[in-house]
Amino acid sequence: MTATAIEEAQTARSLPMDRARALGRLKFADGGFRWMTLLSALLVLILLVGVAISLFIGSWPAFKTFGFGFFFSDAWSPPKERFGAAAAIYGTLVTSIIAMLIGVPVGLGIAVFLTELCPPALRRPIGVAIELLAGIPSIIYGIWGVYYFKPVMQAYVQPFIIGTFGAIPGIGSLFAGPPLGYGVLTAGLVLAVMILPFVTAVSRDVFETVPAVLKEAAYGVGATTFEVVGNIVIPYTRVGVIGGVMLALGRALGETMAVTFVIGNATKISASILAQGTTISAMIANQFADADPGLFTSSLLALGFILFIITFLVLAAARWMLARLEVKA
């Protein structure tokens, strides 16, 4: 923009216009531009703080009434006006953990295959497929989850899990219960599919930045592909990989519709991961439109505030991890 303005000023030299005025105009335009960008940046900050404050004000009655107990109680009874966030927090964290446990290794595996092992003819189609998978709206995953995935879980996967692990003392209670299809595990698996493309797309891009000379040197001294990936590629790209993983975790924590469809929306904590549960965003999506003003609405806003804090903590943890890595490197 400034460059064209200078050209303009130069072509205008033949016109009766003094140099100072032209420069003044440029300075004015530059200053205006700076202010505009500064305002845009400030707007983001103002919005963020505004959302946090309004959420906190809205949730204050709930925090005041229930105190710290709000975080640890799994009660959710509108007629008795007793509310607690534990069930929703628990469901949010457990579904995300299941999704990460499956999505991250598989996603990294796909990325390694694509960059290190894949025949060039296959690289493009698989890459495009991954990118398309990332672009599918979450409601479609929800529909797929209910109509195709849930019946498979109910008929085959869950009876197998209950039969195989359900009788083991100790961890058996994790896999107990009737196979109803809906549940925390089903939601976690759908989430795993949803975050897969994020992990893969980001890690593939950063894997490609590894200098070929490093890898070739490692191969030259006799390293296997597994050793090259473990000792060269991942350490070289860990900052980017962690970024991709955190992006995926962010999506898993906040995902609403797909989870609501398959988690079963039960507002309590069960020992079994096959049992029904709920998440913070599923609770808000289901109940907010209908909630009575007062403690009910306030408790839902409090849930929103807690999700806000959880996402903030995740981001902060990611920053801290990256900062430590950079110091080491």
Binding site: W76, P78, P79, Y147, G181, Y182, G264, Q287, A289, D290
Partner: protein, 337 residues
Amino acid sequence: MFIRSLMSAAIFAASVSCAWAGDISGAGATFPFPIYAKWADAYKKETGNGLNYQSIGSGAGIKQIKAKTVTFGATDAPLKADDLEASGLEQWPMVMGGIVPVVNLAGVKSGDLVIDGPTLAKIYLGTITKWNDPAIKVLNSKVNLPDLAIAVIHRADGSGTTFNFTDYLSKVSPDWQSKVGESTSVEWPVGIGAKGNDGVANNVAGTNGAIGYVEYAYAKQNHLTYADMVNKDGKTVAPTVEAFQAAAANADWAKAPGFYLILSDQPGANSWPMTAATFILMYKKPADVAASNDALKFFAYAYDKGAQMAKDLDYIPMPDNVIALVKKAWAADIQQK
């Protein structure tokens, strides 16, 4: 040429915005949505006046009318007289319907299965977990009940259907009343939450061993298997318009302030136990008198000419004496000039 097309576009836009401005706006219960839509269609053909009804749920309907964003609110859970007084709202019943238990069991057809209130409460409390439980067997000696877990399906969102369902369970089960209670959304001891009457219908249809509760029209439209019920008099009844009507006939609307009346668990040999009315809320002193009058004209039309349409969709029209009472209340309470 260009100017002409521009002009016709402008005229079209003007006519559209006019039609829109004339629409009656309302929001609330999903339970009566099919019949409101049908009435609105017929009314539009006759008068040219349309209805813009958002079926967002009873609780949301109450919220919207209290926020004055709509001309009328619709709810299945009636407001109590003191709440009406405090907010300056008039309330009346518009139409009635039945809530039916629906099941998904291989080999079981509509009418094969019989269930009573206490057993239904125990299933929803989680004390009965299998289909071959003795309590269900006693009621169904002829049905071959499998050793299958019961998948309890309930509403995840706030709902007038839930209000009427839990109100019934509270009446027939002291356990339910003390542990759960009745409301548009409750703390369900067990089960899978689904959104809307449609969501419950879909989940029941797609889950082997499921039981749920939906408004009768939704059960019929989705070809779901419904169960018969044992009513207050101990008689087994099937969900039919006659059974809903029998329950409604007992209701004494004249003695109910603000038309606050819940029709569940009514006496009578033929009464369907889970019958419910759905209500309209409007301001006694409307901010926009013309819009309020338009809405009243629509409701008068629905009362006078909509009875057959309601029956076609398996709703029960209000009896004539109740309609007379409602119209008297309009004239006395709602400012029309």
